[in-house]
Point group: C3
Chain length 493, copies 3
């Protein structure tokens, strides 16, 4: 077995990861490491730096409520006294799944699922199930409107006789694009023989692999990949709390949370001074451990004061503090009640939470009372550093921006409806995709890029992004260009 | 009173903030902390990390000239011997302002103004007053041309009968957009009763609040928010010297200083090696404290050599080292004489420093002699690490780029003038906004985005940004698209 | 002579730069420092932090093979025993070059060339010569197709009588744009007298100076500027290994490697946890020194396991691990055999590695066997942390994306060919630039921006960038806009 090396440097940088000793490693995990430590040295060394390799579940259970990082009351006895190692996660629940395979005397599985993680982190996995993200696969795949956006974006097109035609994109293309973040469906589709240093081995073939998308559908049927935010094999809370993690899926013009953060005062303080903060402390103490919020602070973490008072509870149901849904849909609207949005139908029969002209489909959305509750929860975080007057001013501006950005989307929608009506483009009435023509794509950008971005810039106080970078300037310019296009098209007919 | 905790971690990271003891805290500040330490724990803990909480003005005055961070010769006696705490700033000059209110036996005010900061930092506030930024509110608000750009960008539009109409944007929208960086006008507009943990309180209602824009007009009539760059309540010089601070307003395509910096050699050295530099030393010693410049080094800071020789003096009149104004206006031109640009009128009667065709309105601009002086000052910074041949080559290229980018703007302007003349769009002669139609918006992008960005990339040697990211490629493409548009429009008539 | 100061802080941050003592400094270098330490203090202090100032070549030669940073077996005796200082590099090989000049009793030269660096780093310089980058000047300058892209991008245009005309850009403009990264040709073009603190001096005038482009043609005829990635005068391996260095030229939409990296899991781990890694260790040990790859890890560095096994050899021929060329050209294709691409001719007689319709010009490109070899080499890096199934899945997706992105380029090319055929634009048959008209520029963006970016996002698993930021969304939208344009143009005729 390889020696377990204590990374000395970390002692200086972050005192809270300075464990004095390592936990006992199970014999099973030791046998994994014997080969894989040589085959994949990076993976094993990464795990050695992790808390998983140093603290047993039994020790984790001895912490006080506020300090606990484990959310079950009891873990199975065979797991309690050893480090959480290779074998513990990759041989777990073998009888309940069809993706485990015989490997050197063990039944192992490649994909560790949210259900596996729930063995110790049950509350987080349950909360996460109430999160839109956990349903990100089906919410995209089974929504006919959104599926046709995927096709119009990813499908290969050809040009012949002044016309384009489009092919349905392959699952490989989709996995490389939208489903990278939304999550793929990972299933065993067969077996292959692989030549290795240790002889030929039979290994399962997995569809949609690799993938760490937030809504990954796992071989055991569970939803979500915890490694989206807690990447293997260090599973570092520091990582999850830093904004870079979120930027993997929240950087592009459609959902520019991280870009807005980097030009906000919060983000600037993080970038300039954040090197001195403690990202591993549980609970996370405002002012002591950090002096400006990261994404995690506002949306997920258990935040406390130095006096030990809880400011907000930890929640992996991230919409817990979010009254509005400001991106991804045509209009901003109250947050949906259920994380499964495939159940939504508007009056026009489309699977959308608003009509094409913006009216919300209220029966599927949270009501004002629930919005108030969530707004109050979020404001508690703000109030750790800001006065009520400041916070009220900020929220009033934000809700004004929701309204005006929706109005700018409505204006663009009216241009599109007029184009369809005049036969300048083919839309719903022609049973044609509403995303395949140039004018339709401009319409999509109005809400998916510009209105969303304007709202993000407002919500997170990163105004620079919401004016000329991807915001109001384009809301206005794009609308004028749509009108010009329509004029050219109608005159050209 | 809460214990004042010494943040241990900082000792390892940055030796220059390792003060041995804290300054005495006034009784008034102690009473503030008693409640606000619990109500807003983050704010208080942030201040505890600051130099303000540790060094009294009296101690600050004992430093040598080069090491001084305070620029008055004397501070009022009641302030001299205590830490600069809550009460010191938030109850100051109560008699001179109408925004202070009765609060638990004190007259306090929410907004600390540049005039308040001038109590100790008079030279900086005075210098800053000569900075365009200090006038950023009026320079936008009271310039009719620019005000119409604000309206065309922020106003909500509607579409009916193939025509769009636009509404004047609300002050709330403007505060969430342009005025976030330019600064709002903050005034007391009324009083409201707020229910708090300590009973009902009467608090003033402030217009344009919150805001930390560089040209904020304060309730006491002073201009500028020092917290734009020195954010509350740590007021860290490290923060001000790091480029992230500037990025809050200088990231977008209209003024992409930070984006250019990140692809410049200077920026790359900062990103890769800057973690080991000392950002808190005064004076800031080239080579010893840092090995590549940040924004502050070139534009603001007191830079010295290890031998104690001053390379450049500190200046909060940031244009002190800037001969040209390369962004925000239609053409690059010599820097304006006065920070108040509302006084400028060109031959056509417009409040612009050049004619629409580029000729400078010389009487309002600095002359070549003053440009030389400023260029020389800037070059002194360059020469700390570069030979004269290098520096001359760099400046020669930059001034060539000013010229060629102006020419590319002129070409686009001629297309626009032709469009107005041919009636393809409505401009000055039709008494119509010059920013509301699609072709006009393309013209704006030619100078506000592409010419500006090309010049920034040249000035700061971040060429990657000035070619395909936002520079010459678009100068050329946008011009061709304007010509195509005009052709379509004229033929379609 | 200035005291050589030991930067204390570095001890805490990165143990591997903690040298106990400095190397002897030659008398010649001491005389340089006497004046230049005062004239350019930053430059000298920077060098003092470098390994060059602390380790003599003789000491460097005592290291074991795996730990060696010098790649010759022997260095000239006069260099072996002293620090690599000013005089060592700037007076070297004076007899072989025409850019050295008399200066205070020495013959010195300003530009240190790759041939100078080869005195100690011969293997790296030789490998680098097989790199496309070393030929980046001529590959752009002497390729008529690409030269016309430079003209269409950088040339100043004028508008008169509804027509634009374009001027050939000056060498100063080109040096500020494309050649900043590609490298300029630096030659002595004359002599000038400069007034200095030490009296008048005669100094050579250098064309194309300053420049640190990767393919710089040096005054001694050699190619490449090592300081592109190892910037003066710290020459830090930490710097070269960090992704910021690469971002200087690989950030824009044409080659967005760094942008993709920042949204990849690898990049996010680097951003969040990379502060604790050791970037100076040689060899670079996976898992121990770092836990996720930077650009250098996959493309350049000598990577080893903790057991001392070499995973991949160091290579400054960066295409050693690259089977495909995915950017810069119209279609992705197998990597060219020779770094000098000016020799390539396709069937149509154009200096391009594919036909306009995508078929590769195979005789100039590496064959499948060579591609396999390079793919295997790259996969060895991947396998340090990932299973074969993961790696196979990743590469299969990537090669699918190469195919589909090429197909989307073909569709756009067909629109362009149709435009040329119908006389809607002027192309090859009209002996006109294929880059000067708006529709041609849209075609360029299809491959140079959108197809390239889609492939980068796939290759480096940063999907967010390859969908809405600069990828598939635009491949699809741009094609539809090209079709619309063609329709308008043909109807308008």
């Amino acid at each position: 077995m390889r020696k377990i090396v204590f990374p000395l440097l970390i002692v200086f940088v972050s005192t809270s990861v300075a464990f004095a000793k390592n936990a006992a490693v199970s014999e099973d995990t030791q046998s994994c490491i014997e080969c894989h430590g040589t085959l994949h040295p990076g993976i094993v060394a990464d795990w050695e730096r992790s808390r998983m390799s140093r603290v047993t579940p039994a020790e984790a259970l001895t912490k006080t409520d506020l300090q606990r990082r484990i959310s079950v009351e009891k873990v199975p006895e065979y797991l309690a006294g050893v480090a959480v190692g290779c074998a513990e996660c990759h041989t777990m629940r073998a009888e309940t799944r069809n993706d485990s395979f015989e490997h050197e005397g063990y039944r192992v599985h490649t994909v560790v699922t949210s259900q596996d993680c729930a063995t110790c982190h049950a509350v987080e996995v349950k909360q996460y199930g109430h999160n839109l993200m956990s349903h990100a696969y089906a919410n995209l795949k089974n929504n006919l409107v959104y599926h046709s956006l995927v096709v119009a974006t990813n499908g290969v097109q050809t040009f012949e006789d002044m016309k384009t035609t489009i092919k349905e994109p392959s699952s490989e293309t989709n996995a490389d694009s939208c489903y990278y973040c939304h999550g793929t469906k990972v299933e065993v589709t067969g077996v292959r023989a692989v030549e290795t240093d240790f002889g030929e081995m039979e290994l399962p073939i997995l569809s949609g692999w690799p993938n760490q998308g937030v809504g990954r559908v796992n071989p055991d049927g569970s939803k979500g990949s915890c490694s989206a935010c807690h990447p293997r094999h260090q599973f570092s809370i520091e990582m999850a709390r830093k904004p870079h993690t979120c930027s993997e899926c929240h950087q592009g013009p459609d959902v520019p949370a991280h870009k807005v953060y980097t030009v906000s005062k919060h983000g600037n303080i993080y970038s300039a001074l954040g090197k001195a903060w403690d990202y591993s402390a549980v609970p996370w103490t405002v002012g002591k451990n950090f002096t400006a919020p990261t994404c995690g602070t506002c949306h997920v973490s258990l935040v406390a004061s130095e006096e030990g008072e809880v400011i907000v509870e930890r929640s992996h149901q991230m919409n817990d503090r979010i009254p509005w849904r400001i991106f991804g849909l045509i209009y901003a609207h109250a947050h949906p009640r259920s994380p499964d949005t495939t159940i939504i139908k508007n009056k026009a029969g489309l699977p959308l939470p608003t009509e094409l002209t913006g009216e919300p489909v209220v029966e599927y959305l949270i009501d004002e009372k629930e919005q108030d509750k969530r707004r109050t929860r979020m404001q508690k975080v703000c109030l750790s550093c800001h006065s009520q007057g400041w916070v009220d001013g900020q929220f009033s501006r934000f809700e004004n921006t929701i309204e005006t950005s929706n109005e700018m989307t409505l204006a663009a929608t009216k241009v599109l409806l007029s184009a369809w009506e005049k036969g300048a483009a083919k839309g719903l009435a022609h049973d044609d995709s509403i995303f395949n023509e140039a004018i339709e794509k401009k319409w999509v950008e109005q809400w998916l890029f510009f209105a969303n971005s304007t709202r993000y810039a407002s919500a997170m106080a990163g105004a620079d992004y919401g004016v000329f970078a991807n915001g109001r300037w384009y809301l206005s310019k794009n609308l004028q260009e749509m009108v010009d296009w329509l004029e050219f098209k109608v005159k050209g007919k």
